[in-house]
Point group: C3
């Protein structure tokens, strides 16, 4: 990273302010632990105050003025956005793979490739596939027949698109992703599971990112849809006929069962799940490790198994932890009531005397 | 889809009855939302009544006569089975890959390929592997040495079989599946984990389907078995030495730890798990997101962590939700008892006077 | 398996003792169910007593003298370690793949390969990659530019290393593993998720094993680290910036969210999870299906969602199961208190008379 910028210049680029020495030269970004005097680091999570006080970083990106000694600060209202911009600025420029088809790839004559497409070795592009301009196909990636891929979308090594898959523009699909595998549909008669043919397809919008080894199944009849701007992490499972709303964020190992539909901007935290045939309102947030068994009516956070309003879940969990105490209290009450009963009976007997 | 059938003809093929116009021409199947007048759609889940009333479909497949206005109905006792049949009838015929070995595949001279085998580009078939007639090996799929694959089994692109894997006939193995990886076995001495060699193998029966990116580990010593007719969804994990009973259904992201044995027809819903060394009775159903920590004695549904009879789980969950109320009740009881105690003491004192 | 050993000879090799006939010839190892008279089997888990009594095995490996009739026993203090040694001894010797680069691999001229490296067909090794002596690269595996791999490490078929990945010596990476994919980092402004460039890398220590289809993401800025001697099972997810301590054991489908740091020797059971930005003390054990939402202070087992000390969790779960009973008790108490109140009021009224 030969690039070097004055701190004031960085502030100008990200719309922030400098507190301290705007002439300080910054040669790169680094984590609090790893940074040296020529680095800009960042402090945006209060958990890391100790590390921020101990860092050797020359300057710190922060969301608001903070008491961090004499350090030079770059203050931005949206520090995470500024970080994204700065990373783009400083990032070691990885040369894009050269345009052109590797002589070791297997591209069907009936496939159509746009301008500037790059195809790596051992990639397979079947009959009828159409790739927009500047699409990048990694080594070993397989694009099934009649698939369509929008411009500037990148498929990393080892992706598999089943026939008929549609992907929009500017998407990023990581290694090991499988789009368009058969949905899990069987009609069971006398214990024998007859396959229900899965004749639909997967349709992915624009600006979608899909993490490593995630799977999205084709619809049985109709489409499985990933809305534009949605981001899926690794090892996520999207079943047949699901619709993921635009701009949704699905963290690692989340799963959605068949035919469930998510409104826009749904967030699923890690290892959460949603059963089939539900309607999940836009803006719903599903907490980590939770499972949604019912429709959600509006934006809001749900947690637990089955998932309920997260405040109710927290309250119930706290009370579960207090169950031993509650049992003791009830036992004690039983004794006191028994004593009162005994006393009352004795008193009455005495009165009767 | 150029095919077109009279509704009465479709009824005859699936053993159903028509209510309405048996001469109506049906050109294809479609979901309730997507269907037009030339389509047959289906209404088998009460959740979709609204969509069924609004659909533009010319006819509807139903399980029993339903009040859906004047629409033409195709009524079948087993509508989901009928749907499977109709999808097979109408499905756009995807041409099977041509028989023959791609010149770009790497097939060992010591491998034996049955008649009509199809091997895609960049597939690898190692020494000693035996493939039955009509086996399909997708692009980039790797078949380890001495593996055996039964006739008409299909391996989609990017499957890996470790050496010695055995698969029966008519199976369908989706992309990214890994069969025969090492089990997770270590002998720990003084904090160092020594690998326990995994010398067994994976044996898959006939008519098994395995979903994308699922993994099945080889036995440490002996076999990991997937019984005939079992269906595994995507991202499922089967550990070493497990036996999955015939006709079992394991939904996405389910996992089974080492040496556990499932009887026939076990159902695991999504994201459920079973710990190691258990005996799970045939017909056991494990609810979504549940974890089984003990043997199950007979068919029946279990739920929760640890999993118990699902009715008990439901009752307990309902009572957990009512814990705030219970706490209030107990607090109130404490006050009332305290008052009674005070009264009783006061009364006695009065009596003593 | 032509090898055959006297039982006394096996005892000498694993530092154990024979009870019975030391001259018995052992030709191989087998599970209790599968063993015959020429086999040594093992009985180390009390669950399998019935099978141990029924086995046809000629001899049994045990941890301590056991009442198993007249069988010949090989008694070892650490039977599981002995089993590892014996499996190595008897294991059908799988010939290592021959050294050399397959003519069907795509190895960049700018890559450096140590002595005795083996590269399978359709593997890709990009510019600047450095492979130590005796590294094995399976068919179809992709090694991104500038990656470094220590000596004797094996990558099975279909592994993907993103550019810049570092792996130590003697590691074993199973099929479908993806190391170095982008972390899940987005800066959201007005509902649009802007990608935070992921510019770090993955660094794996020595003697690490990584199971099939597991994914480890690169750091956003800085490294994701897998400590030496750690073992990861299949379908595990390690997010960006995580540090997994040396010698940790992560069972299948476990997941760790971003920036969390594990001390040495942490154990995560199957389907467990840890949220981001936590410090997990060395020696912490996370029970199956649990989710850790807070730092752990020291070694010890945690369980539940959120995870707490496992004894507290067990107690709470037992009490949850007893909730129906508790509700009945409280209801009954309410009645008894109401009666006492009625009586007391009646008594007072009587007294007033």
């Amino acid at each position: 990273m030969a690039a070097s910028y004055r701190l004031a210049e960085l502030a100008r680029r990200v719309g922030g302010k400098v507190r301290g020495n705007g002439d300080r030269r910054v040669e790169g970004l680094a984590t609090l632990d790893a940074a040296g005097p020529a680095h800009l680091s960042f402090f945006t999570n209060a958990r890391y105050r100790k590390a921020a006080l101990a860092t050797r970083a020359g300057a710190l990106l922060v969301g608001k003025p903070a008491d961090l000694g004499d350090r030079d600060l770059l203050i931005c209202n949206e520090p995470y956005v500024a970080l994204a911009q700065l990373l783009e600025l400083f990032q070691a420029v990885v040369p894009a793979p050269p345009a052109g088809v590797s002589p070791r790839a297997a591209v069907s004559r009936g496939a159509k490739l746009g301008e500037g497409v790059s195809v790596g070795p051992f990639a397979v592009i079947e009959e009828g596939a159409m790739l927009g301009a500047s699409v990048v196909v990694g080594p070993g990636t397989v694009i099934g027949r009649d698939s369509r891929i929008g411009e500037a979308t990148e498929l990393r090594p080892g992706v598999v698109l089943y026939p008929g898959t549609v992907i929009g523009a500017r998407c990023l699909v990581h290694s090991g992703v499988v789009l368009g595998g058969d949905g899990f549909g069987f009609a069971t008669v006398n214990g024998v599971h007859r396959k229900v043919p899965q004749t639909g397809r997967v349709v992915v919008g624009d600006d979608v990112e899909i993490g490593a080894n995630t799977t999205v199944d084709r619809g049985a009849l109709g489409e499985t849809e990933i809305g534009s701007g949605a981001k899926l992490d690794n090892l996520v499972m999207i079943a047949h006929g699901v619709r993921v709303g635009a701009g949704s964020l699905l963290a690692a190992q989340a799963g959605i069962a068949g035919s469930t539909r998510l409104g826009p901007g749904v967030v699923m935290a890690g290892q959460s799940g949603i059963i089939g045939h539900l309607d999940i309102a836009g803006g719903t947030i599903v907490a980590a490790k939770s499972a949604v068994f019912d429709d959600t009516a509006g934006a809001g956070t749900v947690a637990g198994v089955p998932a309920v309003d997260h405040r109710n879940w927290k309250r119930a969990q706290a009370l579960v932890r207090r169950l031993p105490e509650l049992h003791r209290t009830v036992k004690e009450l039983q004794q006191r009531v028994a004593e009162l009963e005994a006393r009352s009976t004795a008193d009455r007997r005495e009165d009767d005397r």
